[in-house]
Symmetry: C2
Subunit: 218 residues, 2 copies
């Protein structure tokens, strides 16, 4: 082996503009998938690289070959997450029917909570700890909310929906939908075994639909 330079590293390679190898692509995804599982269950501090490695079927140093640090894995997950997470909000269309737009926003957020609970919990963990890793990303969110709040305000001025504070409306939509993923452990106990997974979300959808539509109708 050439000893002329330091150990080759997938990290520096992927960080640079050079293209990534097949193995790199596969293993990175494998690690991220495992890390999502572990981080979402135990939080950042509660997760160990070893747990992630075992879950991914790799050795610890092998994981660290693809990601320089534990934080690097976490950062990548959060980046990937926020893209999908904000998509429904971006989808709110000022030219659509106000109540339908809000209704379908709620439905899409609820579907995310149902289909991607790990992502929801990863996000919740991060915010709970004071969002130490995503201050920048939160500013993008703020700008997006600002824009969408203007749309809601226009609808209110046009007397198409009831008067309300748009930002608090968004907060309550986020809270109620994500609650089904984040507080799953509590919900399971309260609902008991009668309501299985699908029923749970159907009943939630029905309830939230009624709550917000009746609460906002002019």
């Amino acid at each position: 082996m050439t000893a002329q330079k330091s150990t080759p590293s997938a990290v520096s390679r992927s960080a640079s503009t050079r293209k990534r190898t097949r193995i790199q692509q596969e293993k990175e995804q494998l690690i991220l998938e495992a890390a999502l599982d572990v981080f979402s269950r135990h939080g950042f501090r509660g997760s160990t690289i070893d747990q992630i490695a075992v879950q991914a079927g790799l050795s610890k140093p092998n994981v660290l070959y693809y990601f320089r640090t534990k934080e690097a894995i976490h950062r990548r997950l959060i980046d990937r997450l926020l893209d999908n997470w904000l998509e429904p909000l971006r989808g709110i269309n000022e030219d659509g029917d106000p109540l339908s737009e809000i209704q379908s926003y709620i439905r899409r957020k609820l579907e995310l909570a149902r289909d991607y609970p790990r992502e929801s919990r990863l996000f919740a963990n991060e915010i709970l700890q004071g969002a130490p890793h995503i201050q920048e990303e939160l500013h993008d969110l703020r700008d997006l909310v600002e824009r969408k709040s203007k749309i809601i305000n226009d609808w209110i001025k046009a007397e198409k929906i009831a008067n309300c504070d748009p930002k608090h409306l968004f907060f309550s939509i986020w809270a109620t939908t994500q609650h089904y993923a984040d507080f799953d452990a509590q919900i399971r106990v309260v609902l008991g075994p009668t309501e299985d997974g699908d029923d749970r979300f159907e009943n939630a959808a029905r309830f939230l639909d009624q709550l917000f539509v009746d609460g906002l109708r002019k």
Copy 2:
């Protein structure tokens, strides 16, 4: 010093029925107060006994003199928490005016989120991790919710409020109110510096009042 038996310990003393000394009372409260601060910010795994000790102005072994383990501190906090946390729910009175009862339940929960955000985050952290330490306590919650759901259902049958699933109603009330404590970091960024602490909660109260009252009125 008598060497005939093991080191005296405040833990065994407080665990037994014997009365506790003045110093024990004071130091235990001091430690719990510090631990609430630390646990609510970093979660169980993310908190160290040393952090708690520093925050309390004690040495690590001194903390461990009053609580056998890190888990024991956590457990005591959670126990103390749940009592206050469920109080508003217990307060729902079947003989009161339905909408007023729900309205004041929401207001009380929101006040808890405003005045005891650390407790809210401690609880959120615990549930997010799958509620590993409070399965029993959750069963008490389930029974309480069961009883209160019956009251809501009676109100619905009497046509005093709109038809809805009582449990999902509770979920959405918990979600929206606790959100202001648990997702504080996000809310701060989205609202920006314009809305300071008190305004925030007043606006939230106004919004939630409207949402739930209009959403539930018959």
